[in-house]
Structures are given as structure tokens and as C-alpha cells.
Symmetry: C2
Subunit: 438 residues, 2 copies
């Protein structure tokens, strides 16, 4: 900034003022002077759209900013930038689209909106020449979008392995470290405020899938329909799996995984066994992490608070500084500039190769092992290790057989499992957990 | 960028064309189209300053770019941006200062230059209204500068714990995992090209100290003289230390540590024992990592290749894109804008508090333990654990006493050690390794 040039403030309106929105207001007000020096102009809050005018807000939020009339915010020509921290699909989507159409820069923390409509919103922003920044939509306070967009700008992302759901990670960590059962661990996560009343979006894996789709826009330049990403949650994992994992020097994490295979990309979300020596193995509790492999850069791991009001607010304000800078320089579109996306072929899960942990809870009958091994062999799946150390203590009790395969095609493993699943000795469905060496 | 606006290319000259410079040329040429879309204008290489005109260069480097005449590069009015990848203090410093004075944006990968003259160079760049970007000077391909500068822009950095030297980390990892002796591990690092012929700058800890000083500019807004940072290397660590560490669930890493204590900052570089469950514990081999604790953000860990031609080149090009964007927007100074530094008081090491691992190799005489414990007690250092399990197998043989202290002031611990060091039963100097809970 030329020192002699006088700058008008950049005027910001917030859509929503929940805990993240409150954090954003706090950070803007408390760091006003420093942010102004970073942006080159002061940041000024104009409107804050809320549903309930009577609700208590953070002390930094001035009453005159509040309004429950969306038209007052969206129709305001004096607003330069819009911060969407209301969440959910509607009316967030309509508001963001209107803001873009009116030429306002947008910062959003809304992963659901991005996962579902992100590519179209980015198209609209590029078309209109405005910024759309969304660091806070993925991994809360972790600068994963910034890193993919900027640090890796001259590189080619080969793969991403990410722990993207704090609830899953908390539950798995508790199960591993304290031997807690799945249900108790979820209850504890709820008690601590880490899990929703209905935790199914989290433990079912769909939250992580949404974030993977957003990362894939930047990592692989991919337009992906979130519905097409194969997703498994952690609801099937039990203590026996952790015991076996431990025995093989492995631990269990819920991962969102993306690979660029050149002519296609392979995306998948599921629990995975990883070596205890992996850099992802110690990312515990509610921490999230993204392990990015760049062709030139090599490995790059980013870890931090994947959720939480203040970490997320820090990411929103970082975006806000970028978008505000672009605005006053008359060059809006920096955050979105150069994002190139195309429809990319998704590799079917059956084509993906991996090592597998397979568990068969079976009747303790002679010949069972041979049947299981035979089925795998017929489908070309070779066995690296096989363990059956329990013996039934009473008649009819199930004992687990544990198999680690060499690298195999998932389709072949599935075919073999299907065969085994029909055997009379099976007690429950066979269990499959992929082993990732990331 | 408005689509209708025609952009002149941004013209870049390189100072130096070693392996990093070659990587930069490769990345610029191979990703020309994408980089142009990110910048909003093509990047064009004008001059490449080399010492030896005859030496082989990467195939993307065109012969007509090469010159061994610094005046041709620095005196060239047509050069917009200068990339300094020659390293060392002189003449790099003179060239960078001249480029800044001439109003050219500068990207540098030179940690030594930054650690020694960084604050003054940043001052000059701000004064002149040009960019000075230096991501590649710290942690090679890890976006640590970008994260401190941008992602944390509204936050307050409380502390940094960083593994910043790949040679140290490789040597310690090899000693831990393979039981290798220090000298052999260093020789192996040299054989693999990870360590210099003279490894003392690395294993002595001074390389990490330089990077800590550069990080402190952004993390703590601090102007620090690198000579004043307390530095210890890893040359004293031996297998016995690793064995004891393992027994207490700890591992040994060489850390660069900074804390903001409000009225002062505490900087130090030394080997430290950390819990095996720490996110830093699995950052092994030549990987580097920086664990940043933000007041609002909470913990944030960044890991990657701390050195290497291509990772470093990726960071240089990321900076180049930023600086080139600023240039064409007529707003140079974005990379440096808002960096606020002041002289900050350094907390003396004697005031720093920590838990300590203390090792005394002593004659196997009765009363030794009491003497050691007594000295610690007199200086107010309380003992958490004490181990003496070896017994001398022949007369005069030393046996180790191992003590873990509760959190204590380093000055008190040092005073106690001094007392014990003079005792006749001591065989060699007492060993002190700090225990960090990061």
C-alpha cells in the first residue's frame, strides 16, 4: 500500500451469529488495528443477520449491527463482503448466490454447502469476478485449503489421506486407549459437546466425505458428486479389532482418502488400519489432520483443531483478510482465480487396491480355516498372515479368524468374502478393514 | 482479473542456478499455463546469474538466460522480480538489498541471510513498498511462513516447537530405531547426502537456531540476534539416553522452541525428550515439523520435507506467485505488509522451567544417590523418579543414575548439577536433557 493513499474501510456483513460468527466478530474487533495493517484498510462490520434479535451475543457485537431481515443485508449496496456462518443448505445457498451475483466477495465456513454446491458456486464466483473463500469449511483451524490452493500451486497432488471428523477420531482414540465400547465412547463425545445429539452424520462417515469432496476440488481439480463417494463409518469397529491391530503394530483411524490415478481419481472414506509409526497414528482425540503427497513437494502433513468456534473463526478471518485485500486492490477473485475444475472419472471401489484386514467370526469347527483360505485363493487374494488363537469355551461360541492379505484388488476380496459369508460356519458378516501405509 | 484486460508478463531473474534454482526453472516452465492463470499474467524468465557458464543445467533452462555478470541482472530495468537461490551471506545480501532498493520484489530461500539480516531486509522492503517473501528459508516445502503470516493473522502465537533440522532428525531416528551409534548415524547421513561434509552446523544445532529466528519474526514479531539464542546440538546423546527414554515412554528429538511470555520471549534449541504419544514423536528421518500453539487456533502442526531441491522449489514458486500477483496489481508489498517487529526481551535460559532428565555416570559407591538427591533438594529441585539399576561388574566401572525431575527452574537445576559435578564419584559430566510435553 502506498502510504499516502487513503483507504475506505472494507464493509463486512455476517450471515449468522452463532458461536463461529461470534468468534469472528471477537477476532475482528480485538485485532482491528493489526488486521487493518495486513489488509491495508480497516475492516468494518455493517450488518449481522440473526434469527433471534433477543438472544445474547458476544460483548463485541454491537446491537445496531443486528437485523433479522435478510433483505437489509443482501440488498445493502454498502456491504463489500459477506461472511456466511449460518450453516446448512437453505437459505445459505440462496444468500451466497445472491451475494456473488451482486459482486460481493464471500467467505463461508459451510462444508455442507460447499460439498453439495461448491463447484457451481466457484463457477459463479469466477464468472462474476468475485472471491469465494472457504478455508473454514474443511478442517476448522487447519490451513488445508490455503496450502492446497497456494503452497502447492506449482505441484501436482498425488494423494490425500485425511482424518477429517473429530467425533470419529475421539471415539476411536477412546476405544483404543481406554478400551471403551463404541456406544460409551459416543456417549462421552456427546457429553463433552464433540458429537451431535444425532451422531450419525459423523460416525457414519458422511461429514468426512463432504470435506473430501471440497478438498478434491483443489487437490485434484475435480467436480465430484458427494453421493458417489464410497463411505463407511466406524459403527462396526469393536475392541477385538483394536486388539488385533495392536498385535500387528497397527492402529485404527477413520480416513478420507483421495488418489489421482491420472485418468481417474479414487475417493473413499472408511476406517483404516495404519502403522503405529505413521505420522497420522498420533493424531488423536478431536484433532484432525490432512496428509498430502505432492509430486515435487513430497509428503506434507497438516494437523489441528478440526472444529471448535475459535479455530474455525481464525480460518474465517484469514480468508476475510485475503478477500478484503483483493477487494480494495480492485482485483477481486484472487481466492478463486486459477481454480480449474473438470468432471473427473471416479475409480470404482472394486478397482482400488490395498492390503486388507479380514475378520471372520466362525464356529470352532475343523476345516473352517481351509474353506476361508480356499475362497481367498480362488479369487487371487494372497494371504500375508493368518491368526486363529481363540478356542470356543462352550459349544456354539464363535471364535475369530484373522487374516491380513497382501495387496489385492478390492473387488476380488469382496467376491471371496461373499462366498465365505454364505458358509454355515459363519457367525455374523465377515469384517473388512483396509490397511493403509500412509 | 477482468478477462478483457491484457497482461504483460511478469519478468523474473534468478540469482543462482544450483539444484533449487534448477527446480524453480523446471516448475515455472512445466506449469507455465497454470501459473499464468493463478497469477493473472505469464511468468517469464529473463536472466539467470551463474558463476560457471559451462556447467550443465536442467533442460528447461535456456542458454540465452545465463549470465555470469551480476550487473546484467541487477542493473536490468526489465526485471520485475528477483529470486535469490544462491545461498550464503555475501554477495547474496548485497544483491537482495540492491534489488529491494531498485523496487523489485524478492523471493529468497536463504535462511542464513534471513536469520542474520532478515529484520533489516524486511524493514527495507516495507520502506520501499516491495515484497520480500521467504517461505523456502524455513522448513523447505512446509508452508510454515505462509501459515504464520496468513492463517494465523488474527491470532496470537503462544509457542512454537519445531523439528527444523533434517540431519539431526535422521541421526536421532537412526539411533533410536536401529541402535546405531552417533558417529555411524552421521556417516550414514553423509553417505545419503542428508548431511554436509562438515556436519557441525547441523548437529551442533545452529541451523535450527537460524530457522527459529526467522519464524520468531512472524510468530512473535521479534527482532532477535541469532547469536543470543541458547543452542545445544545432539553430539552428546548416546544409546543409554535412548534406552532410558524408551523406558519412560519418551523419545528424543532435536527441537527449536519459542514461547511468548508476554513481557519476554523464550527461545532455545536443544535435544528434548517428548512423550511417544506426542504428535512430534513420529516425525522421523529427514522430515521436519513445526507445532504452533495459537491462543484462538489451538494446536497446529505442519510436517514435510525440510530440505531437498524440489520441495524447496515448490515453496519458492508459491512465493513467486504471490509476489507476481502483487506486482501486476500495482500493490507490491503484500508479502511483507503488516509484518510488525520490535526488539523483544529474551528470557534467560536460567529462568526457563521444564522437567528434566538428568544422568549421572558415577562410581558404584554407597551414598552416591543420597549425595545427588541432596544437592537437588538443596536447590529446590524435586525428584519425580530415580533409577539406578546397573551394578558395576568390575571395580571402578561407572554406573548410571537416572533422575526425572518435577518442573523446575533451569538455573536451580544447573546449580545443583554444578555441585554434584565436583564430587569425586562422578565419571564424566552430568547429562541434562529437557523433557517437553509438546
Amino acid at each position: 500500500m502506498s502510504p499516502e493513499r487513503v483507504r475506505f474501510p472494507v464493509r463486512i456483513s455476517l450471515l449468522g451469529c452463532g458461536t463461529v460468527g461470534g468468534g469472528v466478530i471477537q477476532l475482528i474487533e480485538e485485532n482491528a488495528e493489526y488486521l487493518a495493517s495486513r489488509v491495508g484498510a480497516p475492516l468494518e462490520i455493517k450488518h449481522v443477520l440473526v434469527r433471534d434479535m433477543e438472544k445474547d451475543r458476544v460483548p463485541q457485537c454491537r446491537p445496531e449491527w443486528l437485523t433479522d431481515d435478510p433483505e437489509r443485508v443482501l440488498g445493502d449496496e454498502g456491504t463489500d463482503l459477506v461472511v456466511e456462518v449460518m450453516g446448512g443448505e437453505d437459505p445459505a445457498r440462496e444468500y451466497v448466490e445472491r451475494a456473488i451475483a451482486l459482486g460481493k466477495g464471500v467467505v463461508t465456513a459451510n462444508k455442507y454447502l460447499l460439498a453439495k454446491h461448491g463447484t457451481r458456486l466457484v463457477d459463479q464466483a469466477i464468472e462474476r469476478g468475485v472471491d469465494l473463500a472457504f478455508e473454514a469449511s474443511v478442517g476448522g483451524g487447519i490451513p488445508v485449503i490455503r496450502t492446497l490452493r497456494e503452497a502447492l500451486t506449482s505441484d501436482w497432488v498425488e494423494s490425500v489421506h485425511a482424518i477429517m471428523n473429530g467425533t470419529c477420531n475421539f471415539v476411536l482414540t477412546k476405544m483404543r486407549d481406554e478400551g471403551t465400547g463404541f456406544d460409551d465412547a459416543v456417549a462421552e463425545a456427546q457429553r463433552l459437546g464433540y458429537a451431535e445429539a444425532d451422531p450419525s452424520l459423523d460416525v457414519g462417515g458422511h461429514d468426512a466425505a463432504q470435506k473430501l469432496v471440497v478438498m478434491s476440488m483443489l487437490a485434484f481439480g475435480a467436480r465430484v458428486d458427494v453421493e458417489e463417494v464410497p463411505v463407511e463409518g466406524i459403527t462396526e469397529i469393536d475392541q477385538l479389532d483394536f486388539q488385533f491391530a495392536d498385535r500387528f503394530g497397527l492402529t485404527i483411524k477413520h480416513l478420507a482418502i483421495g488418489h489421482d490415478r491420472g485418468d481417474s481419481i479414487a475417493l473413499r472414506v472408511h476406517p483404516a488400519m495404519i502403522p503405529k509409526s505413521s505420522v497420522l497414528a498420533n493424531i488423536d482425540g478431536v484433532l484432525n489432520g490432512a496428509f498430502i503427497q505432492g509430486r515435487a513437494l513430497g509428503p506434507c502433513l497438516l494437523v489441528g483443531q478440526g472444529a471448535g468456534d475459535m479455530p474455525t473463526a481464525v480460518s474465517v478471518v484469514a480468508d476475510l483478510v485475503d478477500v478484503a485485500r483483493s477487494k480494495i486492490e480492485g482485483e477481486p477473485g484472487l481466492a478463486t482465480r486459477g481454480i480449474q475444475m473438470k468432471q473427473r472419472k471416479l475409480m470404482p471401489l472394486s478397482e482400488v487396491t490395498s492390503r486388507y484386514y479380514l475378520r471372520f467370526d466362525v464356529a470352532d469347527d475343523p476345516g473352517v480355516l481351509a474353506t476361508v483360505a480356499g475362497a481367498l485363493g480362488r479369487h487371487g487374494v494372497s494371504i500375508e498372515q493368518m491368526v486363529q488363537d481363540g478356542q470356543a469355551t462352550k459349544p456354539g461360541e464363535a471364535v475369530p479368524i484373522l487374516i491380513i492379505t497382501h495387496t489385492s484388488k478390492e473387488g476380488s476380496v469382496r467376491d471371496a468374502l461373499k462366498e465365505v459369508a454364505e458358509s454355515p460356519f459363519m457367525r455374523g458378516a465377515p469384517r473388512l478393514i483396509r490397511i493403509e501405509d500412509a
